[in-house]
Amino acid sequence: MSQFYAVLAALLCGMALIGLFQTEDLLRRILALNVLASAVFLLLVTVARSAEGIDPVPHVMVLTGIVVAVSTTAAALALVIRANEARRRHEDEP
C-alpha cells in the first residue's frame, strides 16, 4: 500500500509543478504550491511506515510543515491582494 501512495504522491507532485509553471494567475500559483506541499507530505508519511512500526518523526515534520504551509499561504495571499489593489489604484488614476 505504501508503494501505491508513493506513486500517487509523485503524480500529484508532477501535476502541481506543471500547474505552478504554466499558470499566469497568482492565486492559482498559491494553490499549486499548496498541492505540491501536500504531495511532499504524502511522500514523507509513506516513508514513515517501516517494518518495525510507524516512525513518529516524519509525522512531526509533516505537522510542522502543515502549519508553515498555512503561514506562507496567508502571507502570499496578503501580497497578492495588495498587488491587486495597487494595480487598480494605478489604473483608476490616469
Partner: protein
C-alpha cells in the same frame, strides 16, 4: 477485505487526482478554490488510511478550516475576471519548459531516494525513550520534547509571517457588501451563539487528549482560530475590543514563542542542555507550552485572516 481496502484506495487516489487537476487547470477561480477545499477533505481521509491520525486532525482543522477561509476571503477581494500576474514572454517559454523538466527530474530523484532510505526508521528509538519524555503519545513527545527546536522555529516562522502581513498596513480597504441586508441573515449571529461553546470546548478536549492520544496544540489552536474567524465574520466585535488592548494582543501573539524560549533556557540552567527538561517537571512544562502555543496559534491565524494590522 483486502479487495475492499484496494477499492477504497483506488477511489481515493482517483478523487484526489481529479480534484487536484480541477484546482490547478480549471478556468474559473472560484471553482478552483472549491475543488482545492475538497482536495484537503480527501487528504484527511488519506492520512487516516496511512495510520496518521495526528496529521488528519491538523489537516482537518488547518487545511479544511483555516486555509479554506483565507482563500475564500481573498477571492472576494480579487476582481472576478482578470488574472493578476505577469505574462511569460516568448523567450521565456524554453526556460519555463526547462524548469519544469528539471523539477520533474528532481521529484523523481527525491521519490527514488526516499524509497531507498533504510527502512527501519526511528520508531524503535522513540519508543525506547518515550518514558523519559513525560508524555505517553509518541508524536507529542517528539513534537514538544525530543525535537522541540523544530517546533520553536516553526512558531517563529508563523510570527514572521504575521509581521509581514501586518507591515503591509491596515486591514483592507473598502468594506465588502453582502447581497442580502443584515436583517435577511439572522442565521449569522445565531451560528456564532450556538457554536461558540463548542469552539472553546473542543480545543480544551484536544489539548487534554494530546498527552496520551492524537490531539495537541496544533489542531487545538487551529480550531480556536477558526472560532475567532467566525467571530470576525459575524461581527461580534472581538477585534474592536482587542484594539484597545494592543499591548495584550502583542503579548499573547508572542506568548507561545516566549514561553517556549523560557522553558528551553530554564532547561539549560537546570540540566545544562538546551531544551532538556527534568523528568518530574516535564508533563507540567509540556502542558504549559502547549496551552501557550495553542493560544498564540489561534491569535496568529486570526491575524492572518484580517490581512493587515488592526487599529492603525
Amino acid at each position: 477485505m483486502s479487495v475492499l481496502a484496494w477499492g477504497f484506495d483506488m477511489l481515493l487516489a482517483a478523487g484526489l487526482l481529479w480534484l487536484a487537476w480541477q484546482a490547478l487547470f480549471t478556468q474559473r477561480r472560484f471553482s478552483a478554490v472549491v475543488n482545492f477545499m475538497a482536495f484537503y477533505l480527501l487528504m484527511a481521509l488519506v492520512w487516516v488510511r496511512l495510520d496518521a491520525p495526528d496529521i488528519a486532525l491538523a489537516e482537518a482543522a488547518i487545511g479544511a478550516g483555516v486555509t479554506g477561509a483565507l482563500l475564500l476571503t481573498a477571492l472576494g477581494r480579487l476582481p472576478a475576471g482578470t488574472s493578476v500576474g505577469a505574462d511569460p514572454r516568448r523567450w521565456q517559454r524554453p526556460l519555463q519548459h526547462l524548469a519544469m523538466a528539471g523539477a520533474g527530474m528532481g521529484v523523481i530523484w527525491l521519490a527514488w531516494s526516499a524509497y531507498h532510505l533504510p527502512r527501519p526508521g526511528l520508531a524503535g528509538e522513540v519508543t525506547a525513550t518515550l518514558d523519559a519524555t513525560g508524555v505517553s503519545h509518541a508524536v507529542t513527545a517528539v513534537l514538544l520534547n525530543l525535537r522541540a527546536f523544530d517546533t520553536l522555529l516553526e512558531i517563529v516562522i508563523m510570527l514572521a509571517a504575521v509581521v509581514l502581513v501586518w507591515s503591509l498596513g491596515p486591514p483592507l480597504g473598502p468594506p465588502l457588501r453582502a447581497f442580502a441586508p443584515a436583517t435577511a441573515l439572522p442565521g449569522l449571529p445565531a451560528l456564532s451563539h450556538l457554536l461558540h461553546p463548542f469552539f472553546v470546548l473542543v480545543p480544551v478536549y484536544l489539548l487534554w487528549r494530546g498527552t496520551h492520544a492524537p490531539g495537541g496544540a496544533f489542531p487545538a489552536g487551529a480550531v480556536m482560530g477558526a472560532g475567532g474567524v467566525l467571530l470576525l465574520l459575524t461581527e461580534a466585535r472581538p477585534w474592536e475590543y482587542l484594539r484597545h488592548h494592543r499591548l495584550l494582543l502583542h503579548v499573547l501573539l508572542a506568548a507561545g514563542m516566549a514561553l517556549f524560549l523560557v522553558v528551553a533556557l530554564g532547561g539549560m540552567l537546570l540540566t545544562g542542555t538546551f531544551f532538556a527538561f527534568p523528568l518530574f517537571l516535564a508533563p507540567t512544562l509540556i502542558m504549559a507550552v502547549e496551552i501557550a502555543t495553542a493560544l498564540s496559534i489561534a491569535l496568529m491565524l486570526m491575524a492572518f485572516y484580517l490581512y493587515g494590522e488592526p487599529g492603525q
